[in-house]
Structure formats: C-alpha cells, structure tokens
Symmetry: C2
Subunit: 504 residues, 2 copies
C-alpha cells in the first residue's frame, strides 16, 4: 500500500511536470545579419528589410518580442559556445572559430603580431582536454531535469578528437548533422551534401543519407529531421528542448531552388539572389516548425527564441558589391566588432508570458541564453564549473520596457580572422555600456568612441570630444579583460603581449 | 478535482509501466560464425571454440538460454531486414546485400543467368519507394508504445536516397553510426574511421568525430556511445530498446590492438589473429554493457538477445587458409545456404523468465525476433502492412525443451554474391524441416538432402536414398517460394526464369 502511494505521488509529479514545463526551441541561424529579413529590428524599416522575404519571422515577431539591441560574438564558435555555457567568449578563451582539426589554430599569419593563446579546440564538457574550456552546457542540465534534448544542424563547438565535437556529450539525446565543421560542403541533396567518395571534405554533412541524390535542399532536410525528432517527446508529453541550428545562411552561398526565381526576376545580383533564397528557405523552416507545433497542439506551451550567431558576411567577392557595405547602415559585417559584425535579429515568443508585437530595446547578448533558458525550464539548483556572465532575460520578457544602462557588454577578438584587415576586423576589442561603445584596435592602439543612440553606423568618433567616457569604458574593458584572463596577441618584435586598452 | 484524479490515474499508469516493462537489447554481431567464440553452440566444444576468447558470451550463456539451431540469412541486409520486420528475406524480395548507392544491383555478372528482380534498394518504412519492400519495423511499434529506441552501429537496411537508409525513419529515436553502408572503411580512430577528406568512401563511419585521431577502436567507440545513449532512459525510468549492431567482425579484418597480442603469440596466422582480436573486442563490448546495466541496477529487468547476421567469412585470402574451411565442421561460410553460411551463435538472457544455463535445440530464425520482441514488450495490438513469417520464441524461452519439427525454415539466395561460385554460394535455395535439409542449386537444378542430426557437415547427400523426403521438401519449398513471389534469376539463353525445385 505504501508502495502504491509512492507510485501515485511519483506519477502525479511526472504528469504535472509534463503539463506545465514549457518546451523550448532555439532557432539559430548561421551568419545572418541584423537586416537579413523583412522584419525590422530598428526604429525604421531599412532598404535591406525591403529586399528579403521572411513572412514567418514576421509572424513570430507578431506573436512575441523583438529585441532591437541583441548581440552575438563576431564569429560562430565563440557565440555558440557562449550560448551553451553562459560564459562570454573572451572568458571562455574561445575567441575565434575552431578548426575541424585538433590543435589547429585558425588564425591567419601576421607580420606584426603572433597568435594569442586561445582555446583552439573549443568547448569541452569534460575537464582536462587540451586547449579547451571546460564547462557544463545547459542541455546537460535540461536533460537531467527530464527534458528531451535535440540538436539538429550545425554544432561547431569543438574540434574532432575532443568530446565537445559530439553533441551527445553536450547534453543532447538526439543529434542530426552536428559535428566539428562550421559550414556545409554543399546544400544540395544531389551532391549528397558533400558526401561523395574521394571528394568529401571535413564539411560533408553527416546523417542525411536518406536525402542523398534527391532534390532536397539542406535547410529542408534539417527541418524534416527536426520535426521527426519532435515526434517522440510530443507523443510522450515530455518537455523538449530543440537546438534548431541551421547551416543556412553560411557560405557556400548556393541557390535554394525553391525561392531563387523571384529574386533573380527582381534583377538582383546573382550572388545576392542566392543569399536571399537561403534566407527565405530558412524562414520557411521556421514556419514549418511553427505549423507543426500548432498541428500537434503544443504551440501554446512552446517558447521559440530566434537568433543568429554573428553579423552578415561583408567580404567580397563572396558577397557581391563593394566590401563591407552589405550591412549598411551598420558598419562592416561578420568578424568585425562594429555593429555589422555583432548585432543580431532576435525574437522571443513565449505564449502567456511575452506579449505579442512587443519590442525590447535593452541591449542583450547571446551568453544571456543560458540563465534565461534554465529559468524558463524552472531549473534553479545546479552546480557548474564555470561562472556565468550572462543575465537572465526574464525581467525583459515580462516587461519590454525594462532598462539597465549600467551593464557592460564586451567583445574581444584577439585573432586574425582573415588575411586582409577590414573595419573592426582582426585584433579588435569593444565594449558597450548604455548607448556608448568603445572600439579598441590591438594592432594600432587606437580607440574610438560612438554614441549608438544617434550614430548606429559608428561614423562619428567622439573619442576626442568625450575623454571622460572614453577613459571610463577603457578602464571597464581592461578590468574585465584582465579578470577573464583574456588571450592577447604578442608583438613579434618584442615578444610582449599587446597592452590592455588602459595600458597605453 | 476531476482533473486531479485524471492526473493521478495517468501518473499511476506511467509509473507502473516504467516498473514492469522489460528493457530489450539486441546485440547483433556482423559476419560472426557459429563457432567464432568460446561458447559452444553444439553438443560439444569444437577446435574453433578453443581458439577464441569470449568470456562475456560465456557469462551471458550462464545467465540465459543458448540456441543450438539458430539461423540467419546467408548475408547481412536480408537478415537485418528480416529481423526488423518479421518477414522472411525471400518474402521481402531483399535477397542480397544492398548497395549504398540507389538502384545499384550488387549481383555479380554471370554468363549463364541474368539477375532476379529483387528489391535492390532494400527495406522502406514508407510505401511507394521504388525497388524497396514496404513494412513497419518493430522499433516503430516500440517507440509508439513508449519505449526509448536506440540504434548504434551498422544499419544497412536500405540504399542512400531512400527512407530506410535513415534509422530515424525506422523507429529509432537515437542513431549513432547507422547508415546505408555494410562495413566500416576503417576500425581505427587514427583513420577517423575512414573520414579523411579526399579519401573517404561510402563506408566512412558517421557520428564519431569525438574519437577521430585517437586510439579508440571502432567497437569501443560504439560501446561508449551506446552506454551514453542509455543514460537518458535509465534516468527517466523509461523502458528502452537498444539495437547494438556492431560493425565487428566484418571485413576489413583489422587488428583490435587491445587483444591481438596473445593470438599472435600463440603462433596464429596474422589474419586469423586479427579476426580473433575483433571477436574479443566485440565480447568486451558485451561485457561492458552488461556491467553498465548492473551498475545502474537495471540488469534484472533487461533482456539481452545475442545474435549474428550470417555465417563466418570463408573466402581466402580475406581469411587465411584453404577456402571454405574456416567454419568446419560446418560447410562453407557467409553467402552459402550450407550451415556454415547461416547457422548462428544465439543467446537470450531474460531474468525471471529464461532459466540460466539452459539450452534450446529447436531451430529458430532471425525473422522470429519481430513477434518475440513485441511480445516481450507486451505489445499486442498493431496493424501492419506486412504479414509475419516469424514465430514468437516465447514458448521456447519459457520451456527450453519445446520442440516443433513441423515448421519449415527457408533460405533463398537467387543472386550471384561473388564472382566465383563456392559450396552453396550463388543461386541456391534451401529448406529445413525437422532435422532434414534440402539444398537446391538454381544453376544446375541439382538437389541435395541431408540429415543434420547426424550430419551437421552436410557431407552425406541422401537425396537418392530418401526420395520421399526429397519430394516433400521440394514441394514445400516450391510452394512457399511461389506464395512469396520469390525473385528468380533467368536463363540468358531462353529468357525464362529458373524453375522452382519441383518444376524439374
């Protein structure tokens, strides 16, 4: 009889849980710029917003909250690792993208500076792995709390030969196509997504053999697989977490044949038309998943967080047009600490909590996802090896006008991303506090100061006009970088590390 | 209040379920012969049994029931498809191994016979896919009934570009390394299991990037992944099904460095020593899984079914020594309808139901797994597109001396497996009823008859002495082949199909 009551209690707890805990989806797009959609994330619609078609993002924004000041790191592995751990990428020492190959520093060669000592193998859920940062990703905590955890698409948290390369070690119960690579070899089923004997690279996309030789575009295949994976938890009334991490819209910029036609017919440059088709294909995926949730009657209990991992690519000829103009009015693009490299389209839908059509202007960052998601899932007690830099978004989600101008956001990219320096690209740090943003060039020592509230394009350097603010941000940034033991490049001539911004 | 009681009832059902339904593991080895272990599956220990070390199989046999007359099809895809669907491979029309490449008949060219019309793309869980057989695999039913279903290792049910290539379509919630290929490109982590840019084939093993560049042998990597995948259902007290389908001991015959030394020191031929090391590595995996179940205290509620998918390879120089002697006293090996090609080591452990150290001599076949596993899981009501040929093993499992000599088992291999014909290899059918077995050569029309109770080596052809039995089996076999619409090769000269054995 005692046992019977135990069953009863246990059973009750399980049932209650399954009714109340929300499902959570992070819909993470790769390399998508702040304006690469028809939703505007500013106080006005831009010309780019008018080019792209993302009706499902519009629908999501209507049902949720738009963030106009959301940020990621300037490139993917740092953002992705930060999101999973709640730790700023500087603090993780994962400041550049990781190679699929172990112990392979992806920094370009430089005449002036030698590489910073960063964690070239990425993130690890197990301690003691060389050149990695050991931390517990939130999916492990979700899984332990009974969530059914699914990863679909790009992972890119760590190099082959280390545990972080495998989503199954990061707390995911299901993995489709996540591995150590940061982009797909091909988006085409006819190319087997790259899996062609003798021709495949480390970027050949795994786990999609069903679609090999077919016309199924990668974005579609991943969506179908995600929906398939959702079947079990929905049927079993288990709460789920889906990390829907599209390879789109990363290079290779290939036409999504379902959407390319109208962009070409508009007379767009062919590369830009392909780019637009990748965006619309991604948007269809969002719509398909939203429709599926509705059809299964779980949409009312499912949180969707839309995000991108860095700014839109602004390198030509990978993109068309003049270099670093693709995200105007934002300066530069992916890889840069200017707004073009880090400002993201972000939307959160949370039925019953977040008001539809709401707009939050508070600046937030991808490391905030960790404490936010755990709070959404009602997970309060956990022990972590890492200390969290992110802040829960719940005060904002429940009150769009929430404002905190005392917080600092920090970007630190002590690496050489590409051979040729660009605006804010290669060896830059930045800090934002309130509407003020400071940019620091490690190569030249130059500091710039912008007021984003009136100068989103970072065109009007106020460093000479406002030396007080410059000094304040310089000190704040330096203190934080020192505290995080931020990797710094060294001058080849002297062997000395580049000074912190307040050390000049 | 009403709602509260509903919760209570629902909860109670879930809890009760989680306590009572057994976990099920099929531990399926690839290409393992009947004597490729230290457990004897006969009435005596053979010289091969004395060569190999499989202490964990011995432990399993001690805790379960040994089957001395267990059968598979002569090659892998037919056996594996048969196991998942309960349908004889002849009836499936999947009579040969499937190519990773779609619409690619794997039959060797022949001067006399043109290929039979078989399902060259394998099994499909979705109707209307060309050159496939549509059937519902049991993992779909287990999943629907709340089982947590995991596939690890070799799948090989269907070709790329068809749904059956993807374990997620076959009812598995987790897939690690299962795809369209039938063997690994390499067993070595240092070779990335084949995933080397520019050098990978369709056999490069997916999903194991964590181990790339390490010394982790494939068998070990798969075991670690299986144990990892078991964590969630054990923690959540959900019943699970694990399809632990090792790539071992299929070619390429590569040394498992953990075990090779002692076999070489014994003075064994180097290829045979490697083969023995593959076996012992597989056995360690079995032991590791058994230990894990015990440590997690779920061993008492977990059924383990050990099986192989065809006989040991007997082709030289892939194996050492004279061709087709590697399984003596059994004739021939993989690909043959003689006992060497189809007789398997099989053990079932089922705590509380199957008595330890018990021996069942009833002949059984891999298509019996389907109804058996569903019965074990308590799944009684289901609708299927296929009709089941297998029989539940439960009467045997609860009574080792169960006997049924009225049943017929049928093998039909209307394909040319390898360029050079061998004993029972290329265009053969066979039937066993009681202790009698008839062999039929489609190429020559010759029929042979053996009494397995006294002639396990099929050396003494009694077809002339016992024409009554020959005619009985010939008729039985023909009737069944006709009923199943068995694919038949055609004579190139006449364009006519090879006659059924009673049509001569």
């Amino acid at each position: 009889m005692k046992q019977f009551f135990l069953f009863l209690l246990l059973g009750f707890r399980i049932s209650l849980y399954s009714q109340t805990r929300p499902n959570i989806i992070v819909f993470l797009v790769d390399d998508m710029g702040w304006q690469d959609c028809s939703v505007n994330f500013w106080n006005q619609s831009t010309s780019l917003n008018k080019i792209y078609h993302t009706p499902n993002m519009e629908r999501l924004a209507k049902e949720g909250m738009k963030f106009t000041n959301a940020y990621s790191a300037p490139v993917c592995t740092p953002s992705r690792s930060s999101m999973l751990t709640g730790v700023n990428s500087t603090h993780l020492g994962i400041t550049n993208w990781t190679s699929p190959w172990k112990n392979n520093n992806t920094d370009s060669k430089d005449d002036q500076l030698s590489p910073a000592d960063w964690n070239v193998n990425g993130l690890s859920p197990i301690p003691g792995i060389e050149k990695t940062y050991y931390a517990i990703p939130f999916p492990i905590l979700l899984k332990e709390a009974g969530y059914y955890t699914i990863h679909v698409g790009k992972a890119h948290w760590a190099s082959m030969g280390t545990p972080g390369a495998n989503p199954y070690n990061m707390g995911f119960m299901v993995n489709v196509s996540g591995h150590s690579a940061g982009h797909p070899q091909s988006y085409y089923g006819k190319d087997n997504y790259g899996n062609i004997p003798g021709k495949s690279t480390a970027q050949a996309v795994p786990d999609l053999e069903e679609y090999f030789g077919t016309d199924t575009f990668l974005t579609e295949a991943l969506t179908l697989e995600a929906i398939k994976a959702l079947d079990a938890p929905i049927q079993n009334k288990s709460p789920f977490y889906l990390n829907m991490a599209h390879y789109a819209i990363h290079t290779p910029i290939m036409a999504d044949p379902r959407f390319i036609k109208k962009y070409l017919e508009k007379g767009m440059d062919s590369t830009e038309a392909k780019y637009a088709s990748l965006i619309e294909g991604m948007d269809k995926s969002l719509g398909d998943i939203m429709n599926y949730l509705k059809e299964k009657k779980v949409d009312h209990n499912t949180i969707i967080i839309f995000m991108s991992d860095n700014g839109g690519l602004s390198i030509s000829p990978l993109r068309a047009g003049k270099e670093h103009t693709q995200n105007l009015p934002l300066k530069a693009g992916k890889g840069s600490v200017y707004e073009g490299g880090i400002r993201e389209p972000m939307i959160v839908k949370w039925p019953g909590v977040v008001r539809g059509n709401s707009i939050a202007n508070q600046y937030v960052m991808i490391e905030d996802f960790f404490p936010t998601i755990l709070q959404m899932a009602g997970i309060k007690k956990y022990k972590l090896p890492q200390s969290i830099d992110g802040k829960s978004l719940l005060p904002i989600l429940s009150n769009a006008s929430f404002s905190d101008s005392s917080r600092s956001l920090i970007w630190h990219y002590p690496n050489k991303w590409i051979d040729k320096d660009g605006p804010g690209i290669n060896y830059y740090s930045a800090i934002r506090k309130g509407n003020w943003k400071m940019i620091y060039s490690m190569r030249t020592g130059k500091k710039e100061l912008y007021n984003l509230s009136v100068d989103i394009g970072e065109n009007n350097d106020l460093s000479e006009q406002n030396t007080v603010k410059l000094r304040e941000l310089s000190t704040l940034l330096s203190t934080q970088l020192r505290q995080w033991k931020a990797p710094m490049p060294r001058f080849k001539k002297t062997g000395q590390p580049v000074p912190f911004p307040d050390g000049l």
